[in-house]
């Protein structure tokens, strides 16, 4: 008999167990794996995200006029596994904690994120090249080729021109030494 009063008191103290969700905002942990998003200024276009994506939700395609490449994520095929974020070398892809993805059928093919990442032009030959961010360049050229003070200048060249430039500078440095 007393047991029910105990339960009543406890329920009064604790309040309702039901979350008030549709009438108030739901609690979302900050690290909740929700909608995938991407920063085009950090993307190097390596395509590892599209390669590891189990649902083929990510697609990278060169644009028709060859001015850049398009990057798209279709949220309706994304399993929110986070592989793209794990394998992205520059941290361009991240998972937000936004889970409000329910939509009507008319919006099925528009619940996606599209970016057009433009190509840069090689300062030497004018070929379109993909952007290489400074952090990644510092990792690639960790040995610091002789005669190169500023990596930023090298990064404005296409790989072929860059190789030539490094060779040229190495030769000059060797001749000086």
């Amino acid at each position: 008999m007393l047991g029910i009063f105990k339960i009543l008191l406890r329920n009064l103290r604790q309040g309702p167990a039901t979350h008030p969700f549709p009438f108030a905002e739901a609690h979302t942990p900050p690290r909740f794996r929700g909608r995938v998003t991407m920063l085009p200024e950090k993307c190097v276009g390596c395509g590892v995200c599209a390669h590891v994506c189990p649902g083929e939700a990510i697609r990278l395609q060169p644009s028709l006029d060859n001015t850049g490449y398009s990057f798209s994520i279709w949220h309706n095929s994304c399993a929110l596994c986070g592989s793209c974020r794990h394998f992205c070398p520059t941290g361009a892809i991240s998972l937000t904690n936004d889970w409000h993805l329910s939509h009507r059928q008319s919006e099925k093919y528009t619940t996606a994120e599209h970016h057009l990442v433009p190509y840069l032009r090689c300062a030497g030959c004018g070929e379109p090249i993909r952007m290489l961010p400074p952090e990644l360049a510092a990792r690639i050229y960790a040995h610091k080729p002789p005669g190169v003070e500023n990596l930023g200048e090298l990064m404005k060249l296409c790989p072929a021109c860059r190789r030539l430039e490094i060779l040229k500078r190495e030769a000059i440095a060797a001749a000086n030494a």
Binding site: A17, T18, H19, F21, P22, A26, P54, G55, E56, W74, H75, N76, S77, C78, A79, L80, C81, W99, H100, L101, S102, H103, R104, Q105, E107, K108, T111
Partner: protein
């Protein structure tokens, strides 16, 4: 529409069809319904055990070839007006199973889907958002049906008897 019918909103009954799901989305659906933390019955929804009593139907799973005819049969058993919700990425797009040899889906190739709830699995609150969307659509359809019936009545015409259409087996083999 009278004042009373405006004030008394009908409650949709929910039914779920597993079209070859891994059970992840089904667990989330059960969570939405049966644990007091999310409690979908607050929204006036109730799970039912028979498709003939259902108003809103959840479909989970990528629609495997073996399940396709069964799913279609059960779906055709649900009386109109009905609203179909695709829960999880599998029924919406095929998800990680897209293009596999035992997959006949996505579901909207065979059925008119109304609401999509992506996620693998979607969290219970996302499913509840989908239910709210579906409830709006369903109430619109109920109202439209009611208006059609009223206008037929005014004309003095008898509502057309809906003939029981035999289920046509799409045939996959």
């Amino acid at each position: 529409m009278s004042f009373i019918s405006d004030m008394t909103v009908r409650s949709p009954w929910l039914f779920r069809i597993n079209a070859g799901s891994c059970n992840g989305c089904d667990v989330e659906l059960a969570t939405t319904a049966f644990i007091p933390r999310y409690d979908v019955e607050r929204l006036g929804c109730k799970y039912c055990g028979s498709p003939r009593h259902a108003d809103i139907v959840f479909i989970t799973g990528p629609l495997t070839v073996r399940m396709k005819d069964k799913v279609l049969r059960v779906w055709h058993d649900i009386p109109e007006p009905k609203v179909t919700i695709a829960v999880g990425i599998c029924p919406i797009s095929g998800g990680v199973f897209r293009g596999g040899h035992p997959i006949a889906g996505p579901v909207d190739r065979y059925l008119p889907v109304d609401v999509n709830v992506p996620g693998c699995p979607p969290r219970p609150q996302a499913i509840m958002e989908g239910v709210l969307l579906a409830k709006d659509i369903w109430l619109e359809r109920v109202r439209a049906q009611e208006e059609a019936r009223q206008s037929l009545k005014k004309l003095g015409a008898r509502p057309e008897e809906k003939k029981e259409e035999p289920f046509i087996d799409a045939g996959y083999l």
